[in-house]
Symmetry: C2
Subunit: 204 residues, 2 copies
């Protein structure tokens, strides 16, 4: 086993360090966040930090560094209050990852990829078409992480569109059946083929 200590991490070259630290937390969610500016310009961007916050009320969070990157998503959410979370699946991996390129706010990533926007139920923000799981989100609160100026955005799930074959009898959404991806590090994508459920555990 390799042992990497505090000093090693501090002294690694920039790219080595961001690869290492971004891949050491484990598998991450693979989502496209859709939003729209007040002037009507659509935005879609890959995020790997969407995390469960609570079921009642139903809330998810994600992290961003608004001063450094991904400002369009942040500004659109703050301006309009709404965004979508769309799951990256096997057939759109390359286009989804390309949304990480730093385009100007006047350019929509929908115009630079084969990703197509769609609108449902008069929800303000664009969904990504033909994705097996799409969530309509309303902004709730933001928290600043003091140690590095990262911002945690919390949103409430106000709508959920899911392909029939993914939704099981007990409410479990089977991500493997939707060929939904998971992210390893900054640019690695895996598509799990199956899963095993172990049920609720009680003390032995």
């Amino acid at each position: 086993m390799v042992h990497i200590n505090n000093d090693d991490i501090d002294n690694f070259e920039h790219l080595y360090r961001i690869n290492l630290i971004n891949s050491c937390s484990g598998y991450k969610s693979a989502n496209l966040l859709g939003s729209k500016s007040l002037s009507g310009i659509e935005n879609v961007a890959v995020f790997s930090s969407v995390t469960h916050i609570g079921s009642n009320p139903p809330m998810l969070g994600f992290f961003l560094r608004p001063t450094i990157m991904l400002r369009n998503t942040y500004e659109n959410i703050k301006a309009t209050g709404f965004y979508t979370i769309n799951h990256i699946h096997e057939t759109i991996l390359e286009d989804a990852h390309h949304t990480s390129a730093k385009y100007k706010s006047s350019i929509s990533e929908f115009d630079k990829t084969n990703l197509v926007s769609e609108y449902k139920n008069e929800f303000l923000a664009p969904f990504v078409k033909n994705v097996p799981l799409q969530l309509a989100m309303a902004f709730v609160e933001e928290q600043e992480i003091k140690a590095n100026n990262t911002i945690l955005i919390i949103g409430k799930i106000v709508g959920l569109h899911v392909n029939d074959n993914l939704l099981e009898d007990d409410g479990f959404i089977n991500l493997a059946k939707g060929k939904i991806a998971t992210i390893n590090g900054l640019d690695g994508y895996s598509v799990p083929k199956q899963n095993k459920r172990f049920g609720y555990q009680r003390p032995k």
Copy 2:
């Protein structure tokens, strides 16, 4: 496609609702957090919310609801300042998931499963032995999520132990090579077999 709206979510039976909301965010990290009380009782518990916060300083976060569950991990971290993050891999799935059972603080999950604790480099908190990736963490700060009293715990990575065959030349840790698991919902585990890397993206 099934459309589930705000009212539907509010009216679902409890178990259906928690299965749905816990599986709709996408794949989650699969980690065992190790900690120790001031009186020396070891604790190990499964978490699926460990998330990348930043690379410089190297920080990870995770969420918990200290008033409802998993109080041992929270109390130990606050009392000692240290904990470990250990990656759940193919051969320990069942034991890892069993740590979600609600044992009293006087009982160590290491005594109720085949998981074995180990100590390295005089770090206070126990690691889980024979795991391909182990992180030594120091508590940095906590943030309260007002909307549901969840707490976000931020920690700094102060040490990293990784099996040689997972660590690639550019710092990327290949989780698939370690047969590391990812979590779907509350109790579904997948072990991705491979990944594809797409590299850094620039505007076209």
